[in-house]
Symmetry: C2
Subunit: 274 residues, 2 copies
């Protein structure tokens, strides 16, 4: 993949990279479409990265519907599908990790120690391998997006990070490969997460409530109505630094991580004005 | 620098990078000569990297004879001299670090916590900025060389690391920018370090002594004869993994770090056979 990518770049072609863990849904495909329109060549990587899963997490049961993913990529006009295996990516003697300090320790990072180190490391390597001009990330994984933007800037990587909107089901539920873990009733109930975020945004943007404790409490009250919901966090933070805000000042993000039964879901919404 | 380098690479030129902290001596210039012979374009970077100095170390007093360095580079046929300042390399909000685990904790790393994290981070960034085909490192900083090789391989960086021999004074003292801290008597006495390493190698290669404790004790006895010498470590380790060897098996390295007065010197020698 690297030698192909280096040759393409030397011949003047632009490359758009969409890094994924596979189990592609319309959210991923929206990134692929954006990459397709903006670049000569589109590379999709599919790699369920063990370094970003904790020991108690779903690495082994994470869905790997490879034939379907390959077909979806072909249909979407992807030029190269890069699918390394874990032994090739982490051979014996592998020792190097990329960390984005502070930003990686908050929010999801507090509940998933080492997760964002695994993400930053694999993304830095996928950039080295696929030599992208542009790389595409969805805003559902907002913390991941900001960490990757920070890493790319800090390490002077010559890659433009393109941030893409969350794709949602008609119910409002953000698309995620993990949604397939939800039972049908759980899936229906999970739509309340986005409704809670929307109401929080309205509290801020239209009712001018700037106390984040008050906003978080309102979201929490709505989430707690969902049966079997277990809140990991509900947080209002600065959209760039991810530092929690006591008094909300835009641009800010309201984000949550909630377990519905055994399935961990995340979502967020941007607050643009107060 | 990055836009120049990307343009050069796209036009098919090879780039040789010699990363330095300046205060250039013949050791550096041997790297530059090697880069000059092997590449279309030679880039030398001069950056006294604060991230690789401990709080009690010589960051502030590290020599910065910039005009002399620039002249030496011009005379050696260097095409680009890249001299960023610390505020440009570590702006407010900088958060990203590259770590090579285990290898960074041993030897010099045990005495200079964080040093190799600073080295790996700045080298990864200099690679991103100068886009080298090849990068040149001296074997005096043997641990640094092996950590950079490991990082380059692990992060899939498309850079060939070229390892170059130690350049020595006629006395045997390894050239170092820090040698200028030595008084004349200290400088004369410091030549004993290399003689001690040579004798250790002879013990192994010609007298077939493979007990590393025995070899280290012999080196230690010789070093202790130097007035004002303070040993940080004397170690025999595997040349690739840097893991200490109880029973010496080649390729191995005998390395030492010794303070002569207030000046910290390092040196090493390769053992090729037993």
């Amino acid at each position: 993949m690297q030698s192909i990518a280096l040759r393409l770049r030397r011949s003047g072609k632009s490359i758009g990279l969409v890094p994924t863990m596979g189990a592609l849904h319309s959210g991923h495909l929206s990134l692929v479409g954006r990459a397709r329109r903006g670049n000569d060549i589109v590379v999709v990587s599919v790699f369920v990265n063990p370094a970003q899963f904790g020991p108690e997490e779903d690495y082994l049961r994470y869905p790997r519907p490879f034939a379907r993913d390959a077909k979806a990529c072909r249909d979407a006009g992807v030029d190269y599908l890069f699918v390394p295996d874990a032994a090739a990516m982490y051979p014996d003697g592998y020792l190097t990790y990329v960390s984005v300090e502070k930003m990686s320790e908050r929010l999801c990072g507090a509940f998933r120690p080492g997760h964002f180190r695994g993400v930053a490391t694999v993304v830095a390597r996928l950039f080295a391998i696929a030599q992208p001009s542009r790389a595409y990330f969805g805003r559902k994984d907002y913390q991941q997006l900001k960490i990757i933007q920070r890493m790319t800037k800090d390490l002077n990587l010559p890659v433009k990070i393109v941030s893409c909107p969350v794709v949602r089901e008609p119910s409002g539920l953000a698309l995620s490969s993990r949604n397939r873990y939800l039972s049908l009733p759980e899936r229906e109930r999970s739509a309340a997460l986005f409704r809670a975020l929307q109401q929080a945004r309205e509290m801020i943007e239209y009712r001018h409530i700037t106390d984040s404790g008050c906003v978080a409490a309102a979201v929490s009250a709505l989430v707690k109505k969902i049966p079997d919901a277990k809140i990991e966090y509900i947080s209002v933070f600065d959209a760039e630094t991810l530092v929690p805000l006591a008094k909300i000042a835009p641009p800010a993000v309201i984000a949550l991580a909630v377990r519905i039964g055994t399935t961990r879901l995340i979502d967020n919404i941007l607050v643009r004005k107060i």
